[in-house]
Symmetry: C2
Subunit: 354 residues, 2 copies
DNA sequence: AGAATAAACTGAACCGGTTTAGTAGTGCAC
DNA sequence: GTGCACTACTAAACCGGTTCAGTTTATTCT
């Protein structure tokens, strides 16, 4: 059982003892030498390093992990309905960003997908209690997020994407999403729109909330009322339903700011199916700048973020924390960039016929 | 250094020795009892189990891993240009599927993203040599894929998505993609089309090749020539370029079968920008059934697969292999399902003016 | 020259499990 | 009542590293 026929590293992996024996020193000396710690002379150090290299020694992460009580891995739990997972361009790029930071430090990413509700907390607990990870990244932060307390209890280092609204001891890496939404609203205001609606994402998410608040604030700043709000949940179906609700209103909007691209796409398609012209009768903006949005008819005006950078920085902050070299402060990333395409245009002269 | 203040499990994790002491037996006995192995009487076993439970004992994966030379994790290396990662709805769902199989067995997924070319092989090597994973899943299999040889050399169990064209000792989990493409072509033939083009994905991928071959075969079966092929690379830009090339031809196609949704979307948008009507002048089919395709104008006729199932089965096969309970044969999954939407229609009476 | 100090290095304990070799005790046959 | 097989269990080695407590040797101080 000890000899797994599949186990790699050739016929038998070379251990630190092999190196010690070959170099004529003790295991301890080899450990010191290989880790750049004091306790060995330069001569001996060089010799040990050479022997280790010649023998093709590779540290065993398993052994290292056991003795140093570390996993050399970071955890990410993604809690989404699996069928919706593929619709969001955020995660793949975000994960790629994490990886760029991790590979430099010989850390890996342990990914969990929590499908069932409540499974998320179990995922985090398991990951930490099993010692799979040394720290975790918290995405999709919710209003009064219970995970903050859980991670606190588990005493595991963490980073959050954006600062939670409940008190959190963990550093946050933040993007000023408000600025993006404000830019979109200002763009529409400049085009003459006065009835600018918002189809919001799930309001249990802080990014759902902050986008809504930014929309309302920007309208207030322009002296406009923010009564044209329709709640949705970031899904295409939700986007359609919210759009339908808004377009049924007597004072139907001439522009809709959506909280993400998928809802905007679905909403645009729905509006068009009603015979409305985009942007002739209705201007539409999204959020995320998903690749496909430039191929819609019309191409979607949206907000471009840099999820890869976000992932990279989040991982970096977490690694710094583990190394004890993190100041503790939050990190601010560049605000989203407004990408103006053909789905937004001047306000129509008069409201289109219903 | 030994006592990481962040390390979870309360003030100090309870070990097998604690349990042994509390139950008045030796470490070995506890190990036997906890693993359901013979060597302890039923009475003692029950007592040990109870004590372990009362004390809240959790096995340390790190220790377990060291002594049993296992990682209790599976590896997945995704090699895509990070900027393109978000465009493919396949991976998130695929990964979610993997997770559903893993969580049942207390395995986790270690995910690597190889951005630079060549980094992929290094990723696999590192994952295996560091003992991070017990097996790996191979996606995006290429023509004469060099990774097969690498994994063979590393002596790591693996599963491939679809059977590689080079000889591979690893079980494959396959979807008959050909059947999907054939269904799409037959659908177009039934609509009267005779000039049916194909915009292919990267021909270095076996799925790129097999989709092309299926297209050619289906045309041949219908007595049609398969000269309308344009090479692309699964990207939107590539799809546009290939579409442009096809539409410039004297015998321009009346229908185009794309190797994926993104290229189809971009191609459709491009054709429309040329003033062509879809499907009036040109019918279009995609592949993947990405969520957004139903919100295009017109909605896209495409092929629906079940990436989640694919992930689940692939992981399951790999786990069986690790447990030694896998027969060794390949597994066939249901063929893609043709989803007919408005982007395909009857062949136009005469070729549209150029 | 002798004592104090530091550097270089060794041996062993340790992390928390698994597994092997060996021991004690029981039951049964002859 | 001795021999044998079998069960139930223990002690210790082991996985491959890290780290602590000493020991030896060289250097410096007085």
């Amino acid at each position: 059982m000890q000899l797994n026929p599949f186990e790699g590293n050739g016929p038998m992996a070379v251990t630190i003892s092999d190196v010690a024996h070959a170099a004529g020193v003790s295991k301890g000396a080899v450990s010191y030498a290989l880790n750049g710690q004091p306790g060995v002379s330069q001569d001996t150090r060089d010799r040990i390093l050479k022997v280790a290299k010649d023998l093709g020694w590779k540290p065993s992460l398993r052994a290292k992990g056991l003795s140093s009580a570390k996993a050399y891995a970071l955890g990410l739990v993604v809690a989404r309905d699996p069928s919706l997972l593929g619709t969001d361009p955020f995660f793949p790029a975000f994960i790629a960003g994490i990886e760029t930071a991790l590979t430099e430090h010989d850390y890996t990413l342990v990914l969990s997908v929590a499908t069932a509700p409540g499974a998320e907390e179990r995922c985090y607990r398991k990951l930490v209690e099993n010692g799979r990870v040394d720290g975790v990244i918290l995405t999709d932060v919710r209003h009064n997020d219970s995970r903050i307390g859980l991670l606190n209890e588990l005493k595991v280092p963490a980073v959050t994407l954006n600062r939670p609204d409940a008190s959190s001891p963990f550093p946050a890496v933040s993007v000023d999403e408000s600025a993006g939404i404000v830019a979109a609203v200002e763009h529409l205001v400049a085009l003459g729109h006065t009835r600018i609606a918002h189809v919001g994402g799930g309001q249990e998410y802080i990014h759902g909330r902050s986008r809504r608040k930014a929309w309302a604030d920007a309208l207030a700043a322009a002296g406009l009322a923010s009564d044209l709000f329709a709640a949705a949940d970031f899904t295409a179906a939700g986007g359609v339903a919210a759009t339908a609700e808004l377009l049924r209103r007597r004072d139907r909007p001439t522009a809709i700011v959506y909280a993400n691209d998928l809802m905007a796409t679905a909403g645009q398609s729905y509006a068009q199916s009603l015979g409305l012209s985009v942007p002739g009768d209705l201007s539409i903006t999204g959020y995320d700048n998903a690749e496909f949005t430039q191929y819609l008819n019309p191409p979607l005006t949206t907000l471009a973020t840099d999820p890869m950078l976000w992932g990279r920085v989040a991982a970096q902050v977490l690694l710094n924390q583990l190394a004890g070299t993190h100041g503790g402060g939050d990190t601010a990333l560049p605000a989203p960039r407004l990408v103006v395409r053909a789905s937004t245009g001047p306000v129509p002269d008069r409201p289109p016929a219903a």
